[in-house]
């Protein structure tokens, strides 16, 4: 049913990734240290045109006796396409393409318009906005705060919207260089989730 938009030219995408990585290595390290700020991080993140990674996510939910765990792969193509393909515990996928969110779970397939689910939109935009290095998009919903160094940074997102605050307390995105390594979401009711991301060389 589903095709990966990038797949026919995937080798090209990977090639591009490698070129970006190469370019980063060639840039003087001193350069980051001097002006390490959100703009610098965003600019660096924005260089990634497409990405492929594996993830494991643990959700800690008070109602449940133990955390629920899921794992799978992530695909990203700048600036608007993000796919989270869960393999365990049940195969399912979530594709965010521009403003449309498609969930596929077993036989069921749902098309959602982000506009109809503002909280969900803010939540998903935190991930997509970070990957795209889109500071403007992030600042529409969150107050940003960057800590650490280029070798190990943490970007904290605090929701500005009252409705969103009722659901999400904060989101912490951590990374190394211009690669996102983890996303931690703490909800207002105390539940939380932690997603660890591992970049994959090739699909």
């Amino acid at each position: 049913m589903m095709t990966l938009p990038c797949s026919p030219v995937f080798s090209l995408c990977v090639l591009w990734d490698m070129l970006v990585a190469l370019a980063l290595m060639l840039t003087p390290v001193i350069g980051y240290a001097a002006e390490w700020d959100i703009d610098q991080l965003m600019h660096g993140l924005a260089q990634t045109r497409s990405d492929h990674a594996s993830f494991t996510e643990k959700k800690y939910i008070a109602m449940l006796e133990e955390p629920v765990e899921s794992s799978g792969e992530l695909f990203y193509t700048a600036p608007d396409y993000l796919e989270q393909r869960t393999l365990k515990p049940k195969p399912e996928s979530m594709i965010l393409d521009h403003e449309t969110l498609v969930f596929e779970r077993g036989r069921q397939k749902h098309n959602l318009q982000l506009q109809d689910y503002p909280e969900l939109a803010a939540y998903i935009d935190s991930i997509r906005g970070t990957l795209a290095g889109d500071r403007k998009a992030l600042e529409r919903s969150y107050q940003l705060n960057l800590e650490g160094t280029i070798e190990h940074w943490t970007l904290q997102l605090l929701p500005v919207d009252k409705k969103m605050q009722a659901v999400v307390k904060h989101i912490r995105i951590a990374g190394v260089g211009y690669t996102v390594r983890s996303i931690e979401i703490t909800q207002t009711d105390g539940d939380s989730s932690l997603m660890l991301i591992e970049r994959m060389a090739a699909p």
């Binding site: 109602m63 449940l64 629920v68 989270q84 779970r105 749902h110 318009q113 506009q115 109809d116």
Partner: protein
Amino acid sequence: MKQIPVRRGRAAISLWLMFILVCGIIISRTQFTTDLSAFLPRSPTPEQQLLLEQIRDGLASRLILVGIEGADAPTRAELSRQIARRLRADPAFVSVNNGEPVNAERDRAFLFGNRYLLSPAVTPARFSVDGLHAALSDSIDLLASPAGLPVKSLLPRDPTGEMMQLLDQINSGTPPKMVDGAWASRDGARALMLMQTRASGADIDAQQRAMAAIRQAFDTVSGATPAARLVMTGPGVFSVNSRETIKSQVSRLAIISVVLIATLLLLIYRSFTALVLGFLPVISGALAAITAVSLGFGAVHGITLGFGTALIGEAVDYSIYLFVQSEQGDSDQQNWIKRFWPTIRLGVLTSIFGFASLLLSGFPGLAQLGLYSIAGLVAAATVTRFVLPHLLPANFRIHDVSAIGLVLFRLVQRAAALRWVVAILLLAACVILAGNRTSLWNDKISSLSPVSQADVTLDESLRADMGLPDVRYLVVVSGASREAVLRSSEQVSTILQTQVDQGELAGFESPSRYLPSTAMQRARQASLPSPAVLETRLAQAVQGLPVRAQLFTPFIADIAAARSQPLLQGVDLEQTSMAMAVDALLIQQDHHWSASLPLAAPKNASININRIRVALNDTGMPDVLLVDMKAESDRLYSGYLHEAILLSSGGLVAIIGLLLLVFRSPGRVVRIIAPLAAAVITVTAGLAVFGQQLIILHLVGMLLVVAVGSNYALFFDQAGRPLHPGVAKTADTRTIGHTISPRTLASMLFASLTTVAGFGLLSFSNVSILQAMGVTVAPGVILALIYSAIFARQPNA
């Protein structure tokens, strides 16, 4: 001696005046319509009946799509919100949607509060230990998924996920995108609104009021932003615009054609008395025609009136023949009656025979045209014959037209030389027709629509922006009560759901989704276990799952409440978005109910309609119909087209039969018919050359060419015969041998000029139905006259 004709004249005049009076009374009580239903069948099949119901009363018929263009995006969105606020307070609109979540809260509350009555997943098995375990396990998995966030808070009250079930069913469409808090087109260039009127699409007055309300709301709120523009489309809008177009066209055509013909006649007659008298048969004909249609059909269609204006040019012919062909003075009018009346009477009879075929049409619109023509021509001819001569003043005279007649006479004498040219032309026409025979006819019903291409384009673009699918397939169930059709809808839904699961359909709609039958609601209630039983089962069901049974105390309470909650009625849906769907899908007509279940095709694929048909047939349910709206409407129209072709051929056969009966000479009949057939062939080929595909009304035009042209052919034929013995002595002094007289020629030229003027005007109409008749009749009549002259028997032959 003189007393008898005078007395007879007075009697004729008083009879005529009485007739006019009666016509006037009937017409003043006549209803005039403009909707296209006159062009829909009189005795439809069940499928066609449904099609008509959908066209008239279905949801689609009540939608008005609105676009706001110009200005900038935030302004457009603001206008959209303000217009919506005003119109939501207007009872003429059932709903006004522009993306604002006005009903969202109420919808959610309705669905959540009634989830155990509404969810198709509610069965006894769902609430068994195994069923609960599976449902809980699913819900917990969902929590782990990215989609889990909104589900979490629902878990303690709805662990089996019924709310998600319901939302899944409802959110299957793709709404337009939001820009600045209101719907906008994909390219963002216009704000979009979708309104549903309370009145049906067939109620054109109500649709017109709704449009006026929208425009007024727009004008009020957009006062400060002159750059903003309002566009509207939808079936109701089309009907209103069509009516306006037809109204304005018919009145304009009537005025122009009267002025044009009057000017023409004034130039010829140079006498106002003659002009006024000449119009008497026309007016009588028009009044008789409208009265006949009104009595025969209960209402007169605007198109029929438009056609009537063109017929002015034809009805005036009789008085032209009388005035031009007769010499001055009473005796010569008597002479005219003896000499020419039989020919004209035969011409009228031919026309009647031709048009009578239209009366048999299953297309009420065509039958109206047929009746109008017959009644109009008979009345005009009768008044010319029996009333007009008595009204002529003693010294009545018109301008001498013999000069024109003589010029024509010389032309006609040489016309035979053109026979070869005509033969080549006809051959070429036949070749063209043979080459275009597959594309000659347009059998799409849309070809009849008076809606302009610009409006159609706007409609398509707004529909695409709105993501409104063009519903092509519908399953329709009917029954004696709401409950009965809801139960049938549920049965059909089960079958359709299987098809959805197999990927044959993307989805479908059903009123039973929002308002299940009482039986279904009872069955769902009966599936719910008692609190004590549920508690025990839950304790077992949570084993092996990372939850404690205590979490679900609110669930047990909700189930207990649902077991005894009152069943859903239609009124419970009021004020929710679901009411609109149910209203649209459930139609009540007298004591008859029907429910429509529109089908949505899978993305990038079409529906395998036979498969669905077989699946539905397998149930053996009566009163279930699968309707292919597009195929049905096209079939309907092409059925008519073929019927009309058949009827017209029948009309032609009847005319030939009539002529054979009168003349008892096949050769003579061929001589009369040949120029007419040649004219029709040439015109048809001409239309093909200009790329105009033929619709039913071209066919009506061809019948008219034959009807009008038959007069000319008969005159030429009559002239070629030895004169009636009694008339011979008083024959026109300028008659040379047995050829046609210059005076007759002049009258035919004038008659054809007025006909061309009347019908030529129709060619410029932008109502396709009227234009089709115009472009056929105007050139056809001229050609019929020329061909009649060319093919006429030569005096020395």
